[in-house]
């Protein structure tokens, strides 16, 4: 068997290549070709597994992904949550809005991030807002408050041109028709609690749409 494989790989094709194109013999030897072919198939298989396991995956795919993680992630082939489908039923853009109320705002909500607004980095803001809404709907209070804290710190540092302190934050899912504000649903709303150390936490508002338990005040370490 070994001799037959050797004979096939070291066939006339390789010999012609070697003789006519002055290719180094090492690249055309059958051992190298088998090794490279094996690595090549392993690579393409890994990429296919990585792409096909995006968003939805079976337990077999998940096990394969975890096993291949050192190569897939380490060598930068693994793309998680890639928006390749452009638009999906669960990820319709333009329906999430983040509003803040400044300490000097006197109960005036200021739209800060809006999927409908056009700007150069619209898709990145779209994704950020949809991740926030997924975390709120999934009741992942730890993840939600960590990202909200990052956003508040950015805004208070003057990231959007207004460096005043924020007192409340609200994540809103707007109705598809955009006709009535009453049809909008609040995914998350919280007041900021400032601590003497300079840190702050979020006190979620109690309402029918709350995603975090009312008694829960989440403090995130800086």
């Amino acid at each position: 068997m070994r001799h037959s494989v050797s004979a096939i790989f070291d066939s006339s094709v390789s010999k012609i290549i070697r003789q006519q194109q002055s290719v180094p013999p090492s690249l055309t030897s059958w051992r190298w070709q088998i090794l490279i072919s094996f690595l090549l198939m392993l690579h393409l298989f890994s990429v296919a597994i990585s792409y096909s396991a995006n968003w939805r995956r079976s337990s077999i795919q998940d096990a394969a992904i975890v096993w291949l993680q050192p190569y897939l992630i380490g060598a930068n082939w693994y793309q998680e949550m890639l928006p390749i489908e452009w638009i999906s039923e669960n990820n319709r853009p333009g329906s999430i809005q983040l509003l803040v109320e400044h300490e000097a705002g006197h109960n005036h909500w200021v739209p800060t991030l809006d999927s409908d607004n056009s700007n150069n980095e619209k898709r990145k803001f779209d994704r950020l807002l949809h991740v926030l809404s997924e975390l709120a709907i999934g009741e992942d209070s730890q993840g939600l408050t960590r990202i909200l804290k990052s956003i508040v710190l950015h805004l208070e540092a003057g990231g959007s041109g207004n460096a005043s302190r924020i007192s409340k934050i609200r994540l809103l899912k707007r109705s598809e028709s955009n006709l009535s504000k009453e049809a909008d649903s609040v995914l998350y709303e919280a007041a900021l609690a400032r601590f003497p150390s300079g840190e702050f936490g979020f006190i979620p508002k109690i309402d029918s749409h709350r995603s975090v338990r009312a008694h829960e005040t989440v403090q995130v370490n800086q």
Partner: protein, 296 residues
């Protein structure tokens, strides 16, 4: 059985281990370098606003989103230096920019695409959430160009053969084609998993939200549906044409049609650019190589 094995092996060797002229690969490299320059320019201007110490996604939020220290998420292999040096986004964007220019020129041999790939990975691993559609293809192109990147821009002239065909050139071009096939198959299957790509609603919704060049009013719903079906059918056609060498000319036009529909619906110019670059490798452009003058 033995004859089938022999034929398959012959086909495999001819597909992967036959030398090719590096002119085509040089075109792909130059195109990929231009897209990379545009990519790093946007990161140079806006990277700090997103990933800096006071960015929209600071290190703490970024670590949480990659599942830091949660088993099975692979966060252990996220090697971005921006976790430890969050204020160096400009440095890595600048480094990527210079390396992209070097890649276009073909100087620095394999090191230039490696640095571009490294800088792309630095930003990707810091915030995979912010990955856009063109990045996976651009990263893959750069990774393959590390194997072989053609010849320098100084020696590259359409119509001039370098006279040094290499197996690695053919190997890299084949890898790019296979990667493109997997990408389109993956894109198509994800779209077909959603009913809005079957009932024509996807194109209509995207035009309603003014995400692309086209914005339709009521009464033009049929056009949204035509575009939706066009996006699906062109991807099916691309996959079919890739498997039939005699239909490669049609596959090229299907790719352009797909790009056109994408621009009408999404207006993602970077994605369009990187697809055009990949299409050089997938549907080879003809670079005339004249015969050497005969000695009289």
């Amino acid at each position: 059985m033995n004859s089938h094995l022999r034929e398959t092996t012959k086909w495999w060797i001819e597909a992967w281990f036959v030398p090719k002229d590096p002119s085509l690969l040089s075109c792909v490299r130059i195109g990929a370098g231009v897209v990379a320059i545009l990519h790093f320019l946007t990161l140079l201007l806006g990277g700090d606003d997103w990933l800096g110490p006071n960015g929209w996604l600071n290190v703490d939020a970024g670590r949480y989103l990659v599942g830091n220290e949660v088993e099975g998420t692979g966060s252990l292999y996220r090697w971005s230096w921006l976790y430890w040096y969050p204020d160096s986004t400009g440095l890595f964007a600048g480094l990527g920019l210079v390396a992209s220019a070097a890649t276009i020129a073909g100087v620095g041999s394999r090191l230039s695409p490696f640095i571009v790939w490294f800088c792309l990975g630095t930003f990707h691993h810091r915030a995979p959430l912010l990955t856009t559609m063109h990045e996976p293809l651009l990263t893959a192109l750069m990774a393959y160009l590390i194997i072989d990147n053609g010849r320098t821009i100084w020696t590259f002239r359409p119509g001039l053969s370098s006279g040094d065909p290499r197996i690695s050139v053919n190997f890299v071009l084949r890898l790019m084609r296979c990667h493109f096939w997997i990408w389109i198959a993956f894109s198509l299957s994800h779209m077909l998993a959603n009913s809005i790509w079957w009932n024509g609603e996807a194109g209509w919704l995207l035009t309603q939200q003014s995400r692309g060049l086209l914005s339709l009013s009521d009464g033009w719903q049929w056009l949204g549906q035509v575009l939706t079906h066009s996006v699906i059918l062109t991807q099916v056609a691309i996959l079919f044409c890739l498997s039939q060498s005699v239909l490669h000319w049609l596959g090229k036009w299907m790719t352009y049609l797909f790009l056109f529909a994408m621009l009408l619906l999404l207006s993602d110019w970077m994605y369009a650019s990187v697809l055009i670059v990949v299409s050089f490798a997938v549907w080879p452009i003809q670079i005339p190589i004249p015969k050497p003058p005969s000695n009289k």
